[in-house]
Amino acid sequence: MTRYIENLKQFLNEVAEGYRLLVPRERTEGWFFEPYGDGQVQLEGYPNTVSSPKEYLFPQTETLYQYHGGEAGLEYENRIPEQTRQVIFGARPCDCAAVTRLDKVFLEDDKDPYYALRRENTLMIGLVCPGAVGPNCFCTEVGLSPAGSEGMDLRATEVGGGLVIEEISDQGAALFDSSSLKNSKSWREASEEEAAEARRVQEKAIRDMAPARNLAEVELEFDAPVWAREAEYCIGCGICSFLCPTCHCFTIEHSGSKKKGKAIRTWDTCQFQDYSLEASGFNPRPDRVQRLKQRLYHKFKYFNDRYGMLLCIGCGRCVSSCPVNIDIRKILAAFERKKSVAS
């Protein structure tokens, strides 16, 4: 069923009764996903968030296990996350498509139990973009769409002051069977006109963002001069990777003593100088140029070769937040399209 929500606040209040609800909020410092809390919701002017919602599936820091010294030696306690059901409301189509890519990494070969548990308990209510919402959006250049439903459980489109909600997955549909929503007045079936208007909004957004090029076709050249040129400016921080919805590198470290301690997993980035430092002391990526190359190759070639999809989802956060304005779109522009095979 396609539904219509007139009173968003009431709907979200009802969702919050059964789920941990995360919504985009405007702070002086920018828009961020935050817990629903006191029930403030304001989508007017909402572009995209500064940092991506990936932290709710793959947190910056999490404890993997703890240990303490017992009579029989060390006793371990796995710290699999609690089974809190959560709804991420208002994630843009690019961020939802990012989740599909994270799923490939964390679920496909060996299931990561920490990610898996959070993932199973997360519902994505995506919000269609009326066009390019962020300052540097380019999702259509990486084969995605401002109205796409990839990675969503429900898709919301702003129509007539309310939202048209389309079911994308079974879990999404099941949300409306929950006790707080089942007989609620906060939603009703959408009219034909409302559903049609939603489709028009989506199609217009796609037209407005018609891509100038297809970045999947770009042939990166390993020895091109642009790498060294751009890497010269890089300060080696983690902003691009940490804000990126698909970057997923992590490091595990231990803290504590013989008596008591824990292992924690935190985000890591290939842009840090010591990221690929080996035990021998050799570092295969000693300079920023190799590290910059690695990042773009991973996003635009290696991941694509392995999984058949680009790792970059075109949200533009790395471009917006890079303190020295390194722009991956400009770097890619230095490379010509792959020559098509003569048929």
């Binding site: 920018g30 820091t61 390019a132 924690i264 035990a279 002391g281 303190p323 304005n325």
Partner: protein, 348 residues
């Protein structure tokens, strides 16, 4: 010298092989601030921009270069040609800090001093653009000394006056004119800067909060830190080969030594660890931070770091009447002591 003359001079010097590189600002794809230009090609010098959108503290690239040289274990006798560097007022103080700490000899720098009449606050400008522009496509952004404009059908439509996009955090500026330079862009700023005793009104205002209010504010801010280390990496004063507070740098070179090395912090981003990172870094910057504000500009979460570092600058000023980077020959304040240093914080 006028900007065009400066560009000509620098291009000539590059052509003659008198300079290793020119470091300045140029237009990038972000219309709210200028990106750096580091070039040894004379024809690229034309791109240099001296507008109030050039905010980055370019001395950071000297610090980065020094760290690179240390890593390569180069011949200490090796001579480097001078590097031309564009510095605003506060950046010239940062340069003095690097000179005080003997990171680089003055002869290796050709300083292009840029008198500063204030800079644009990129975050504010972007927020105003986002809320007031009809078509948010950033290719339509125009910023100049009059303010923020939207380009609509070839016409400029004003969205905000310059005062609305200028960075008010720099109202405390003590050195609008670069303290030393080899050439200066345009005319020096004639207005008197704020008096030394009045420069910390921002910190004084914050200190009106109660201790509980202060911690409530800072603990919330620190809880948002993602430890990206942009604040550290954009700061020219953070010149340690290996940071004791961040596990992102390469030294020591072998894993054995690395494992044995004590780190002060884990990478855990709980509020306590984050607070410790920021407190420690603030202490390391006491008497060295020149309030250029890059840490706060770079922070993706918008944490008001400048205020924290200025609280230490205020302490150093109140207690020792010292301001960072005013004199390249001065001995750094924390390497000195005075028989009359205050003890009122101590227990009798």
């Amino acid at each position: 010298m006028q900007p065009d003359e400066i560009k000509k001079l620098l291009a000539e010097k590059l052509s003659k092989g008198e300079l290793r590189a020119v470091i300045g600002y140029r237009r990038g794809t972000n219309p709210f601030f200028r990106r750096p230009l580091i070039t040894s090609a004379p024809e690229e010098v034309e791109e240099l921009d001296f507008s109030p959108l050039g905010v980055e503290n370019l001395c950071n690239y000297i610090t980065i270069e020094v760290r690179k040289r240390r890593n390569r274990r180069h011949d200490p006798e090796e001579q480097y040609k001078p590097t031309a560097l564009v510095v605003r007022g506060c950046h010239s103080r940062a340069l003095n800090v690097l000179l005080q700490e003997k990171l680089i000899p003055r002869e290796e720098l050709f300083v292009v001093g840029l008198p500063c009449r204030g800079v644009v606050d990129p975050r504010k400008a972007q927020a105003l653009w986002h809320s007031r522009a009809e078509n948010r496509d950033q290719r339509n952004v125009v910023i100049d000394e009059q303010g923020l404009f939207e380009l609509k059908n070839g016409e400029r439509v004003q969205l905000a006056k310059y005062e609305e996009i200028s960075d008010q955090r720099h109202d405390h500026c003590r050195t609008p004119n670069p303290l030393s330079y080899d050439v200066m862009v345009g005319e020096p700023v004639a207005d008197e800067p704020v008096e030394a005793e009045k420069q910390f009104s921002d910190v004084e205002q914050f200190l009106q909060k109660t201790p509980e209010e202060r911690w409530s504010f800072w603990s919330e801010q620190f809880s948002r830190c993602i430890r990206c280390y942009a604040c550290k990496n954009i700061c020219p004063a953070c010149s340690c080969q290996e940071c004791s507070l961040a596990k992102d740098t390469e030294q020591p070179v072998d894993a054995d030594a690395k494992v044995r090395k004590t780190f002060w912090l884990s990478k855990e981003t709980d509020t306590a660890d984050n607070a410790s990172y920021h407190i420690n870094r603030a202490l390391h910057l006491a008497g060295r931070c020149v309030s250029c504000g890059e840490c706060e500009r770079a922070c993706p979460m918008g944490i008001p770091l400048l205020l924290l570092y200025r609280s230490l600058a205020k302490q150093v000023f109140d207690d020792y009447h010292y301001e960072a980077g005013m004199d390249p020959e001065a001995k750094p304040i924390m390497t000195r002591f005075n028989a009359e240093d205050r003890e009122d914080f101590m227990e009798e």
